[in-house]
Structure formats: C-alpha cells, structure tokens
C-alpha cells in the first residue's frame, strides 16, 4: 500500500540529494536480490548517501510505492494478479529496469509454458486450477514497458552497477556527480 512521501528534495543547482529506488520480486529464485545484498558489503555506506530505498520488502519493514525514480524488478509474471502488481509499479516509477533472466527472458520460470499434455499430470493441473495461476508465465516486458535490462542468472553485477550509476547521473544526484 502506497504511503505519502515527501517530494524529491533538491539542493543547489537543481541537483537531487538522492535517487528514490524500489526493488521488487516476482516469480524467480531471488538470487539477484541476494546478490544485491552482497553488494552492500562494498557499497552500503556509499549508497546510503545517494539512494533512498523506498520499497524493498526483503530488507525493509515500511515500504512505499509512491514517487519512485527507478524500479528494479526481478522475476517472471505467473498470474493476472502479479501482472496488476507490475502495472502498479510501472504507474509509480519513472523508469523500470528488468533484473535477471526470469524478468528479461522469462526462463527458467516459463518452463511450464512448454509442457506438453502428458507432462501436465494430475498434480500440476490441481495446482494450476486451485491457485492463482495464469494460463502461461510471461517475461516482464510482455506485461509492462521496460526501460533497461540487466541480464544474467543471477544478474551480471557490472551491468547492474553501470545501470544504477547511469540513473544517478540522469537524475543529477549530487554526491555521485
């Protein structure tokens, strides 16, 4: 649920104090999120100064969708409810970055799309019919517009850092610049 947040603070020369970021996970193994937490070993002190992590359920108790500059989204989309959630993220973020193989290509989460009829046994049919599953699993840009992709399984760290720093510069974040 989105909460009211203060507007983006700027300092002199129109520079922004911090980039407002959200991190989201859909259907995947979440290893890119784990990798992100490992990056904090080296970058926590630096990022705390220039990034406000406004939504990141894995690490934060209080989360908000409001006014995100960049949303990093890992995982494929397995259902209509996940698609609606992704659309809500898109509406609240100026830029969306797909993170990792499941978000960028769908695989391996899309495996069930290729199941032939004899693989769809009684147990799988039961799950698909009793829970919130869509007819097929989709990659992120099948559901919402995506601005950038960080590929890899898990994500390629140099590409992630390059993408993050690109947005820090794009939003004219002061200390980074």
């Amino acid at each position: 649920m989105a909460m009211e947040q203060p507007s983006h603070q700027t300092i002199g020369n129109g520079r922004r104090e911090r980039l407002v970021v959200g991190w989201f996970s859909f259907t995947c193994c979440e290893e890119s999120t784990i990798l992100f937490t490992e990056l904090l070993n080296d970058h926590l002190d630096e990022w705390k100064k220039v990034i406000e992590f406004r939504h990141m359920r894995m690490l934060k108790t209080r989360n908000s969708l409001a006014g995100l500059d960049v949303a990093f989204v890992e995982g494929a989309i397995s259902s209509d409810s996940q698609a609606k959630e992704a659309q809500q993220i898109r509406e609240n973020a100026r830029y969306v970055v797909a993170i990792g193989a499941c978000a960028c290509t769908g695989k391996p989460s899309t495996s069930r799309n290729q199941f032939v009829s004899e693989q769809l046994n009684e147990r799988i049919r039961w799950y698909l019919s009793h829970f919130d599953y869509g007819p097929e699993v989709r990659k992120l840009d099948d559901v919402i517009e995506v601005d950038d992709m960080v590929r890899g399984c898990p994500m390629k760290v140099p590409t992630f850092l390059q993408t993050l720093y690109k947005y820090l510069e794009l939003f004219n974040v002061s200390q980074h610049a």
């Binding site: 290893e31 992590f53 359920r57």
Partner: protein, 152 residues
C-alpha cells in the same frame, strides 16, 4: 475478552513471499495460517529430458539463497545414478562450498533481517554511520546484550 482477526498481507525481511492470518477469540489464538504466495515452477517435471550436464545449473535455480545446496544435491543424484565416484579433493571442495552457503545465509538473516528489528530500525539502511553508535558495530552490540542478560 477480545476477539479479532488480523492479517499481515506481506511479511517483510524474509526470503520469498508469504503472509500470516491470525484468528483471536476470547484473548486466545484460535487459528493461525501461514500463507506462502510463491509460485511453483514445477522443476521436477521441467528437468525431465534435459541433458545430465545441464541439470545441476538448471536445478540450482530452484532457490537463489540455497542454490549451492540444490546444485550439489543434483550432482550427487546424477553421480549415484551413474555409479560415479568423486575424489576426496572434490568432496572437500563441495563441503567448503556448502559451508560457505551456510555462513552467507546465516549472516544474511542475522545482519540484514534480524539486527534492524533488534535495534528498532526499519532496515539496515537506517543503521547510523557514527562509529560510536551501537548499531554501527553489530558484534559489539550483541556482545553487550549478552553481557546484560548475563548480569540480570
């Protein structure tokens, strides 16, 4: 006497996606449901027909937190099925990889999930930069807590 229900839609600071539903009647918990919202990906079906060399890396994608455990388990299953014996050096290297996983996973839980709650903070991002702040040096803080409990 109070009766009310509450639902936590999304539990935070966990790996995966889960909720909790609690039913309270006459000041006592009558029912409690832990709701796992992660979507199944049917790996046990999807792995059939794959070449054996592709199986360990494929099955390691079951879980990002414990990918090493899934990778090693699938290697062992393939080796057992083919009667393959691995060297003592390989066994030692796998043991080290597994121990590395345990250290990483427990450190993640302690420092990233649990410690901010103990300190009354929202997240690890809110731990002070001031080296005099007890949250800045978690080990020092935990040691102090242990001493406090030892003296009280």
């Amino acid at each position: 006497m109070h009766s009310r229900d509450f639902i936590i839609e999304a539990i935070t600071k966990i790996e995966g996606d889960a909720g909790l539903e609690v039913v309270i009647e006459n000041d006592a918990v009558k029912d409690l449901r832990f709701i796992i919202r992660d979507y199944r990906r049917f790996f046990t079906t999807a792995v059939r027909g794959k070449r054996t060399v592709a199986v360990p890396s494929f099955l390691s994608r079951i879980c990002g937190t414990c990918s090493v455990a899934h990778l090693l388990a699938s290697l062992e299953a393939i080796e057992n099925s083919q009667g393959i014996e691995v060297s003592e050096q390989t066994k030692t290297l796998r043991r080290l990889a597994y121990d590395g996983l345990m250290i990483r996973d427990h450190a993640l839980h302690l420092y990233f999930f649990v410690l901010p709650d103990i300190l009354g903070l929202d997240s690890i991002f809110d731990i002070s930069d001031d080296p005099r702040d007890h949250g800045h040096t978690p080990a020092r803080f935990l040691r102090r807590q242990a001493n406090w409990h030892g003296h009280h």
